[in-house]
Subunit: 479 residues, 2 copies
């Protein structure tokens, strides 16, 4: 009986090691702790540990305890997936998500040239000020760990956001603002508040992939309307769509659209608002790149001209201050109460520390200077990147002309498959975002998006050259 | 024409001041900045500022710029609320939410005795270690500001959670865990993944109010089943309900239920799982107080006996490490993929800094010692609190007997209205949570919940005495 018991314990611990709960070279619980956990004698645990030593699973270190030996990890056997209730999971979105997960995962590695994710490298972020701000908060206001910044969020942050909104042309009171977990969260909450499962939503094509995801999990139907590289969403197609079908909402990016870089001209904005008014359409504005326009004067938000409260404004500080802090916001207008109820039910609050650190940075007044510096750096990177693409990529390659942000949309010759370029490039530690991630139909198989918010040096030059050569090679392969 | 222009600018700035965008005694933008913003001459702005000085809105301070004068705030005129699409908003939940917002807001003030919100004061949290951990991270790994801990979340955190789950009796691999924004977020995601609008969900009565909120925003129907003070949810009523109606999911709190403190005995857990199996019911387990049981050995989770993958486990570190960090998790079993897709669409990731700081604290091994200390302190507070209630409250008052956590559920004589007690107490800077917040029907009008995770001294004693006297006074008023 006693023999069975120590074997059982040994088997349990072995399984834990194999499942990665205890990693190689880390300590496993002491004999005393394990004896308590399994409610057995110390002697039994010692027997179990000796058995594990015999099996080569653990090793005693004198005076230190028992440590896990290096061990090949067994592949995880997961429970069978039951059929999912909820949204009809279109296989297209699922495959985009699988691709996206791969790309984002690859882009997080430290030794790659990260052209893929729309995340600026640390040198373009006010890291030193954030270090100071977080350090001071934890030192002087340690109760911040215990305090909730309940939805709609920190007052000092919302006051600072209201001031920023003036530059976007919006007279927004602190009370009109809800803090969110980045812009993605703002977009999701806006959709959730204004649509119901099965509703139709107009989106740009190509679109930011987070929009495709949000629409998918909410069980909505996306209608893709072409987005021109210079002027943004095509309002003639937009209107035709409204004439023939009931649409609940649209998601547009009037400033520096991702991935095309398009900015809608004033006339188009007016026409869009008039259409929204006529067809009783909620306009969800994604302005996450709005503060990164290259012109001296910031482009106004669409929300600035929103006389009829048709627009829900969404943005965040993820592109300009701290992506990892997940601090965004929305101005919900007529939907504000409903959005606040959703946000409260979602997580009660978002973390107090990150909200307050960003508020402090905004308060100290260095943000505008920081923006000017980074916008200039992005313009320089853009010029260098485009020049290199013209030099090394196939002749028919076309680049977008972003007037802000840090994303370049590159059209390759029709015969090239961007997914193949992604795969070949990843083998050489260069990660790009293939066009396939930006739409539900395979329209963008010969496109790729390049993030140029990274330190630009000879190795970056070289990475663009390598991409160009891969494209050339693939061109010859298929033509 | 020029006259109109400067008046217009003055009016705009006055409005901003009245809306609270610029607070009393803070600086408004410089003349130069305003001239750029409105694209007018410096002279025009100076005229506008002089007009504002005349109106008493701003005041020049030599060498410093223009500052807002103290000014009574105009009540905010919000846009008319349009009809909300989505869930039929039961007025009951709305009124609970309004009440809750009031109470939570009142409980955040610095000068109150905070018996209301289920948030431990800083002395019961490992603040010093968190200060060190956050400080070290920001100093040595500043790129943490720029790095996403994409869903399912930080690996080092998930590994530490997997180790904690062993104490709860669960063999959980890192891959089975999704990091969430606190337990509330875990509960919402679990419901979202397993139900559809209109579905019926069994909940405990009294219930944690976040559950009522989540069910409301998802458009689900709550079925309230009584929760006994000692043994938890009443399984006979539970089974009767299942026999007569199709229920999709239930949310239960097997360990130290909020607010009753109940812990389900082993037999009840087995019966619950058998019922779930027989009626094809998803069991969402809220174990947020699981680690705060007073017994030497931690009570297992229901999930520990979940052979058929019916249970989704939800918990967080908000009750024991850092409420304001919003770090929770779930183990989704068969629904894991769907839940991860929902969490990714929700916000891509939760903040990296807070996740990593908690992981580091767990790694350094001081968590168990911290838990032992706080659990002991809570038991002492509980004893003192109950003794005082027996001394000062009306004779028929009954207290729950929590075996863990830091919440006491107090039943007052039938004739007392807890809302009135709340209002009177708040005037004396004592905040409690009235029973009305814990159910959809007015069953708990004569109950209140007391958070005893606060420093307990003479003034706390005194606050309980004041509450007792208020109850006595209200008793005589109504009888």
């Amino acid at each position: 009986m006693e023999k069975n018991l120590y074997e059982k314990i040994a088997n349990t611990i072995e399984q834990q090691v194999r499942e990665g709960i205890y990693l190689p070279d880390t300590k496993i619980p002491s004999v005393r702790k394990t004896s308590k956990q399994f409610d057995v004698s110390v002697a039994t645990v010692l027997q179990a540990y000796r058995l594990l030593e015999d099996r080569g699973i653990i090793k005693a270190r004198p005076q230190k305890g028992y440590f896990v030996h290096s061990l090949p990890k067994r592949s995880q056997s997961l429970p069978t997936q039951t059929t999912m209730t909820g949204a009809p999971h279109t296989s297209k979105v699922t495959s985009i998500m699988t691709l996206l997960n791969q790309v984002l995962h690859a882009s997080q590695k430290s030794d790659v040239t990260q052209f893929a994710a729309a995340i600026p490298k640390g040198l373009y972020l006010p890291i030193r000020q954030l270090q100071r701000s977080v350090g001071r908060l934890m030192r002087l206001e340690p109760e911040i760990c215990a305090t909730y910044a309940f939805t709609p969020g920190s007052e000092v942050l919302r006051r600072q956001i209201a001031i920023r909104m003036l530059d976007a042309g919006c007279q927004t009171a602190m009370e009109d603002i809800t803090v969110t977990l980045g812009c993605q969260n703002a977009l999701l909450l806006a959709l959730q508040a204004t649509t119901q499962r099965g509703d139709k939503v107009i989106i740009e094509s190509p679109a930011y992939h987070g929009v495709l995801q949000a629409i998918d999990v909410l069980g909505l139907q996306a209608i893709e309307i072409p987005c021109h590289r210079e002027t943004g969403i095509d309002l003639s197609s937009f209107e035709q769509e409204l004439q023939k079908t009931k649409v609940s909402a649209c998601i547009v990016t009037p400033n520096n659209q991702n991935p095309t870089g398009a900015t809608m001209p004033p006339g188009a904005r007016k026409r869009l608002l008039a259409l929204a008014q006529r067809y009783d359409l909620v306009v969800i504005e994604d302005d996450v790149y709005g503060e990164l326009g290259y012109a001296e004067q910031r482009e106004h938000a669409l929300k600035a001209d929103d006389k009829d409260q048709q627009v829900i404004y969404c943005s965040s500080f993820s592109k300009s201050i701290a992506p990892g802090f997940r601090v965004g916001w929305l101005v919900g207008g007529a939907w504000q109460d409903k959005i606040e109820a959703l946000a409260h039910a979602q997580s009660l609050a978002s973390p107090t520390l990150t909200q307050t650190a960003i508020a402090n940075f905004l308060e100290n007044g260095a943000y505008d200077r920081h923006l000017r510096k980074t916008r200039q750096a992005y313009q320089e990177n853009l010029a260098r990147c485009v020049a290199l693409i013209q030099q090394y990529f196939p002749e028919q390659t076309k680049c977008s002309q972003p007037q802000g942000g840090f994303l370049l949309w590159v059209e390759l010759p029709e015969s090239i498959d961007a997914l193949a370029i992604y795969q070949h490039a990843a083998q050489q530690n260069i990660v790009i975002m293939p066009g396939q991630a930006f739409g539900l139909h395979d329209r963008y198989h010969n496109y790729l998006r390049i993030n140029y918010a990274l330190p630009w040096d000879n190795s970056t030059d070289n990475a663009i050259r390598v991409l160009g050569e891969l494209c050339q090679a693939n061109l010859h392969l298929t033509s």
